[in-house]
């Protein structure tokens, strides 16, 4: 029997209810609800009522502010009440803590669960309740409305069979039917499969087909990036080989590139640092909270699974959404509203990163309505590792395969293949099982364990158990020597999984390690110390095969060779198509201040502080540059700097750059912009590009001929500029499924995103600089060459409904000189503050520096160039900077031979004054500007 315990706050209001009430009023405009109160509902199974009462009193309720009821409703007099719970089978992380606490007080429930009940007071129609439930409370993928209390919390099931797939007899139609919505392989690949099994004269098992499909999925094998290309009739080298060649731009720095779960570069004192960025767009589109959580969890495990285990030290988050104010009628069927996505994705990142204790101290958010069908949710992680543990060992025959951490469930089945497919209005209902809720504490335990094992030298190799689950972990680790896996040994969350599901499940928070037999006892001891479940599930057997069994029955027996090399290189054709967009330039504004205020409120420009403060960006105590600084701690810096070894001054510098709106118009110059922006942020705070490496993420529409040509052009641009900068790419990822298909067959291409992350080392964090003005009366210099003619896709053009196909061109001829001059001037202490110019143009950059300085500034744009004043102020040319120095003389000396203009000075009066020659264009109080800049996100995040 189940005992239900409800806990409510004694006060008439509670923060959870108030937050929901505010959200209902803001987004649904329902004003008749007077109050919302919430009750936490706990269910305990397998205990007596007396035990349940003890449990409640000792663990669940605190009489100081709370009261409880057992077996009946707690909130009386409500107009409507609903309870929302996780669906059975979706693991509620809190359940494990309830069981633990039960054991600790010697009340041992067989099962436990928790959920929330919402009581609405005031007036509310059934339709309104349905709308609230659907839009704000329940995500049907993982949650449901509890209508009648469950009879049991225990999940039972019988083990699924091992099925044989008669692939040798399937015609092309049947082959594609088998592939559709499940394997996501094309006909050519299905034919290779069929031919292979014809050749070895047997039919495959379900597990073998699934294993091959995930190993060959776009997500895992990057078929497009490895394909031979023909672009506009010309043969071109595969994209991946071009990117890999950039390793030669700075080989001395690199410890490992493109071979491990993250890229690794040299640090100081025998340490190395590593970095990786991943996207988690498809899961986040259908379950943003869980998707963002598992995205973070996955990239942390990429770092943890590097070498023999690296410690995650920084987390970054970059999102693209449709505008939160987009009219609901634009939302495609089967998609979630952007404001809901934004809030839930932020909550997921918050709840995961904060709990694991990795500072989330760099990121950005971009808005463009073409993201309405699928957001971009990119998460990056960076780690620290002793250099002598930065390479994986090779498992030898006899070494054991151990799984560490979370148990295996049905969750995440088909994650790798699913994220390689395009999204349709059916995606949510068909692929629901691909999404799961992360358990951050499980991950934290696993991190602590692996780092401990690593330091004792007990790990031969480690890898995460991400896409493809054990099939990819064992398949990759045993690629050379061969692996044997016994699926009945795998600890399960609940019974009833078919063997292939156990092998393919993508349950989170699991790591796989290879360890020497003789160290097993020690490994198990350490895992136990951290409350981590560790189980031997197989060994490396020298067979050069992937052999998997379930209770003596063979489930999978594949040659590693066929699995990893059976897929032929693709040949793909691309054709570039230039769509000339008729330009419509804005008329010269009469009220420049009004325009400026609107730009400051633009989604891509406005302050994201309310979001950043929800993230624990200060955990580990390592920050040497916080996301925000300045007199009121509210002025944004260009990047993150941490001191991962607290007793040393060495810094890790992390920045990024992207601009999907530009890439949409011009993939070549948009990509140049993204890379320039990323390195400009890096240099602006004091990083040196000779000590830094690059990470690429391409988030692209499905590669039809046109999108493939655009991708080719983007890669060319990046390789060209990386060569100029002498910088290597050392890690990267592509996600080529940014396409949405409407029920009627129409296609929506989501804007292509090139996200560039930069990370590097700096010997002394004291030689870095923040963006806030430091003094009154200092000289303001614009360094670099702004393109004041081309403002296509700028915030300015967006708010004035203007358009132009011409986007800002970075001055690639002078870029090295510009960056070098900034680096030198920061190092020699001549720069007081520096801020890179990007979205919102030089006017925005100036304002942000003044926000932090608690002072004003006056500039004369006639010193920059003679162009249209509005264009000069709002041009978004990457690779240009505003710099504060003590005097004109210092400026002239520091930037001799580099394009630069001395444009004004800081002043005591807290006003931004912009002049063009003798004419005053704008004279606005800082406070007014700051309010406009802070307002949008404060509203969305109720702060």
């Amino acid at each position: 029997m189940i005992h239900e315990i409800r806990v409510i706050s004694k006060s008439e209001t509670d923060p959870r209810g108030q937050d929901l009430l505010e959200e209902i009023r803001r987004t649904l405009k329902i004003k008749s609800i007077k109050n919302i109160r919430t009750a936490k509902v706990y269910r305990l199974e397998g205990v007596t009522r007396a035990q349940a009462l003890v449990f409640a009193q000792k663990v669940l309720v605190e009489p100081i502010g709370q009261q409880m009821s057992i077996g009946r409703s707690a909130l009386k007099g409500a107009a409507k009440t609903i309870e929302v719970a996780y669906k059975p089978g979706v693991m509620n992380p809190e359940a494990a803590s309830l069981i633990k606490a039960g054991k600790d007080i010697r009340v041992n429930p067989k099962a436990a669960d928790s959920s929330w009940e919402y009581a609405f007071f005031g007036k509310l129609s059934q339709d309104e309740l349905a709308e609230i439930t659907e839009r704000l409370l329940v995500n049907k993928t993982v949650e449901y409305v509890v209508k009648t209390s469950p009879k049991t919390l225990l999940i039972t099931g019988t083990i699924g069979d091992i099925k044989t797939i008669p692939i040798r007899n399937l015609d092309t139609g049947k082959l594609m039917e088998l592939s559709k919505d499940k394997l996501f392989l094309n006909l050519e690949e299905m034919m290779i499969l069929k031919n292979y099994f014809q050749k070895i004269k047997r039919d495959p098992t379900d597990c073998e087909v699934e294993t091959i499909a995930q190993t060959w999925s776009e997500h895992c094998v990057h078929k497009t990036f490895k394909a031979k290309l023909v672009i506009d009739g010309k043969n071109k080298e595969p994209l991946f080989s071009r990117i890999k060649k950039t390793v030669k731009n700075n080989p001395a720095l690199i410890v490992s590139a493109f071979v491990d779960n993250s890229g690794v570069i040299d640090f100081y004192d025998g340490y190395a640092i590593c970095g990786k960025a991943e996207t988690h767009n498809s899961p986040s589109a259908i379950e943003p909270y869980g998707g963002a959580m598992t995205g973070s969890g996955g990239v942390f495990r990429d770092v943890l699974g590097t070498g023999q285990g690296a410690k995650p030290i920084i987390s970054t988050d970059i999102f693209c959404f449709a505008s939160p104010n987009m009219p609901p009628k634009l939302l495609p069927p089967g998609c979630l509203p952007p404001d809901y996505l934004l809030r839930k994705v932020v909550a997921g990142v918050r709840d995961y990163g904060n709990r694991v204790g990795i500072p989330t101290n760099n990121g950005s958010i971009h808005f463009h309505n073409d993201f309405r069908a699928k957001p971009t949710v990119a998460v990056g992680a960076f780690g620290l590792i002793p250099k002598n543990r930065a390479q994986k060992g090779k498992p030898k025959k006899g070494d054991l395969i151990l799984t560490l951490g979370g148990r295996t469930g049905r969750d995440g089945i088909h994650g790798a293949t699913f994220s390689s497919g395009e999204m349709t209005s059916q995606t949510i209902s068909v692929s629901g099982s691909a999404v799961q809720i992360g358990n951050a504490i499980e991950e934290k335990r696993v991190i602590d364990t692996i780092i401990h094992l690593r330091d004792l030298g007990l790990i031969v190799a480690v890898t995460d158990c991400g896409a493809g689950g054990y099939s990819s972990a064992a398949g990759e680790m045993g690629q050379v020597v061969g692996a044997r896996v016994y699926l009945e040994k795998v600890p399960l969350k609940y019974p009833g999984l078919a063997p292939w599901e156990i092998f393919l499940s993508e349950s989170q928070e699991r790591m796989v390690i290879a360890t020497d037999q003789k160290n097993l006892k020690k490994v198990l001891e350490i895992a136990k110390l951290y409350n981590v479940e560790a189980t031997v599930i197989g060994n490396f057997d020298g067979s050069k095969k992937l052999h998997v069994s379930y209770k003596n029955k063979t489930v999978c027996s594949l040659n590693m060779d066929f699995l990893h090399s059976g897929l032929p290189q693709r040949r793909m054709v691309g054709r570039s198509k230039r769509v000339a967009i008729g330009g419509e330039l804005p008329s010269v504004p009469k009220d420049l201040e009004k325009i400026f205020l609107r730009i400051l409120s633009h989604g891509n420009v406005c302050s994201k502080e309310p979001i950043v403060r929800l993230y624990d960006h200060n955990v580990q105590g390592t920050n040497a540059m916080h996301p925000f600084g300045g007199v009121d701690f509210d002025a944004p810096n260009d990047g993150a700097i941490v001191r991962p070894i607290l007793s040393k001054p060495y810094g890790v510098v992390v920045t990024h750059g992207l601009n999907p709106a530009l890439n949409n118009l011009d993939p070549y110059w948009g990509s140049i912009w993204a890379l320039t922006e990323a390195v400009s942020n890096f240099v602006a705070i004091g990083g040196k590009i000779k000590d830094a490496a690059l990470i690429d993420n391409f988030i692209w529409p499905f590669p039809d001929e046109e999108s493939l040509a655009a991708l080719d052009s983007a890669v060319d641009a990046l390789c060209f500029l990386a060569k100029i900068l002498k910088m290597p790419f050392i890690s990267g990822k592509d996600s080529l499924s940014s396409t949405y298909r409407y029920p009627d067959g129409r296609i929506l291409k989501i804007p292509p995103v090139v996200l560039i992350s930069v990370f590097g080392k700096i010997k002394d964090v004291a030689k870095t600089v923040s963006s806030d003005f430091k003094k009154v009366g200092s000289t303001i210099v614009l360094v670099g060459n702004p393109d004041v003619k081309n403002l296509g896709a700028s915030a300015y053009f967006d708010i004035t409904n203007s358009s132009s196909p011409s986007i800002p061109k970075v001055d690639t001829k002078n870029i090295n000189k510009v960056l070098e001059s900034i680096s030198q001037a920061v190092e020699s202490g001549q720069i007081l503050s520096c801020h890179d110019i990007s979205e919102g143009g030089v006017a925005t950059t100036l304002a942000e520096m003044a926000f932090g300085g608690g002072c004003g500034a006056s500039i004369n744009i006639a010193k920059i160039t003679k162009g249209r004043p509005d264009f000069v102020l709002f041009s978004e040319t990457a690779g240009t900077f505003l710099v504060e120095v003590e005097s004109v003389q210092i400026a002239k000396k520091a930037f001799a031979g580099v394009p630069h203009k001395i444009i004004g000075e800081t002043q005591e009066e807290e006003i931004i004054e912009i002049n063009a020659g003798q004419k005053t264009l704008l004279k606005t109080p800082i406070k007014k500007l700051k309010n406009a800049w802070q307002k949008p996100m404060k509203e969305i995040f109720h702060q």
Binding site: I441, R445, R613, F628
Partner: protein
Amino acid sequence: MTKPKVCILRTDGTNCDEELFYAFEKFGASPKFVHVNELRGKSKRLKEFNILALPGGFTYGDDVASGKILAVELVSFLKNEIEDFVAKYGLVIGICNGFQTLIRTGLLPFTKFGQMDATLAQNESGHFECRWIKVKVQKSKCVFLPQSNEIFDIAVNHGEGRIDAPQNIIKKIENEDLVVLKYVDEKGNPTQKYPQNPNGSVNAIAGICNQTGRILGLMPHPEKFVDATQYPNWRRSVSGNSPGFIIKNMVKFAQSS
């Protein structure tokens, strides 16, 4: 001089342990990471230490309530050992999640193990908050802090930090000089205003000690500002003392006693 031995207590979800370790080491103590399982299994004993430090984090995910599951664990298995440690020789500090745990064991405010007299409830804002604020040291019973009236910048990173208790308890805490730190505004006055008071804590209370003054619990993080460059505005200037002096004084006191 012997180095005071510090037990940095870890368990699932502890995540401010390394910076706390560093802070103690920097100020001359000898810290050691100890997992709660090691105390439960008696392979390590509290009596080997002079200071018990409970770091910040999300122990057991802060499930049910922050620090609750760990508090239940400590009360269930380590009651005698901790009571003994507190009664005889030890100093205790709980920071953020450590404070939440101490208050839920009942060790704070009145050293009643297993009975809660006050709580740390969800922030009034309804959300987690990571920022820098100012606190002022109060005249209190805390044995290792000088009565300095010092005001300094310090980091807060929490979602459940609002101290709450019946009025008579709050009065008792105030009257018996158990309030060690208060959130203050730019003029140095205790404040209920957000965000200077980041959680809406009653009487702007940020940290309290027990009646013997040997147990300190506080929501802000003194261990996150022991080097100049940890402060967001170190490039502008760092004024006055850094909050690291809380740990520094704790070590000094342990050394001398």
